[in-house]
Symmetry: C2
Subunit: 216 residues, 2 copies
């Protein structure tokens, strides 16, 4: 299975490294990190750079596309070369997927018109503006389009894709191999569970960030 | 806070990208991915390359060191430049940490002699051989040495470090920001929970891998 993970300036690394860690273990999988121009692409923190292949217009149709989110999502969504590539490869994929605000990029390319999808909890309105039907779930499957919620949700999404591809035993084997027996010290990972003052704090930070990025 | 994440050939990416995603958001944090020679370092799948700084002997004492695991763990543990660097910087760190078999590397450098630590569930005996006292917990703290279990455990470990540094509100805020509300489709992430035939399958694959690597 040919897997293309689309990186762009200021992507969020865990969005794609979570799923990569699982999907790359599918038998016969070849993961390629790709970008508009190839070369090093820097994550949102500015502290991590990943090598990519490009230019994008020479990357042929993969079986699975994954688009991570990140503060660079709107700039990526505004890039005609990214939108054109997604429109070109999507008809031939087996799976077209996103994590976090990667769905903003898919939606901007017109791939989510009227389709149920998820995104980071703070960006659901923006996803709706772009024509998708936001659903408040961690993983949303609409035919071959599978979207994950914020950042860490990509791990759960990938486990479901692995199950689809290889069955439950294999998927559980990978879960065990990466010792994914989550035990966070708090139960604050969703807006419905976090304390109200924590939710307000994070919402404030994310709104400031969106405004600075000129995003929805 | 200066954070150094030590990469080596055939590291496992999620081991360090999970904690990176959280620790890099600490106020004033600067994360540097470092390696013996600098330049691109390739993960265990061969499909991901991360840019690093080096050479290691010019990397000054960071406040926090993190060593990921991976199939290259024994080769890293055998590298005198890595062991020397760890021994040099450890006395000045605030936190010395590892995820998965990164603890094998710490132990080989002599940092875990008689100290309680964890590692990937399949490698506990090897950790004991190297002088540590393996503990079957997801995150083990022994003074300033904090070790996480396999791969995904680094996320939980980092949340605890963030709480130590910035308090529970901030840690919960980061958990919410990365929407870490785990919901795997199976409950198979530890040897005590996975079905017996899945455990045997994974143990077999990991033993083969260890033999090929010439490891414990």
């Amino acid at each position: 299975m040919e897997i293309a993970i689309l990186l762009y300036d200021r992507f969020t690394a865990l969005d794609c490294i979570g799923p990569y860690e699982l999907l790359s273990r599918l038998p016969g999988a070849r993961v390629r990190f790709v970008s508009v121009d190839g070369g090093l692409v820097r994550a949102d923190t500015g502290m991590l750079a990943v090598q990519t292949e490009g230019p994008l217009d020479r990357i042929d149709a993969p079986d699975l596309v994954l688009v991570p989110g990140g503060p660079g999502d709107e700039a990526a969504a505004a890039d005609g070369r990214i939108r054109a590539w997604l429109r070109r490869v999507h008809p031939k994929t087996k799976w077209t997927t996103s994590v976090c605000t990667g769905s903003i990029v898919l939606a901007a390319a017109g791939l989510l018109d009227g389709i149920e999808a998820t995104t980071h909890w703070a960006r659901r309105e923006r996803l709706a503006e772009l024509g998708a039907t936001p659903v408040s779930k961690r993983v949303v499957r609409a035919g071959k389009i599978v979207t994950g919620a914020g950042v860490s949700a990509g791990i759960d999404m990938a486990l479901e894709l692995v199950r689809e591809e290889m069955g439950a035993d294999f998927a559980q084997g990978l879960q065990l191999a990466i010792e994914y027996d989550p035990d966070p010290p708090f139960d604050a990972g969703s807006p419905s569970k976090a304390p109200a003052h924590v939710l307000e704090m994070v919402r404030g930070v994310m709104n400031d960030l969106s405004r600075r990025e000129g995003a929805g």
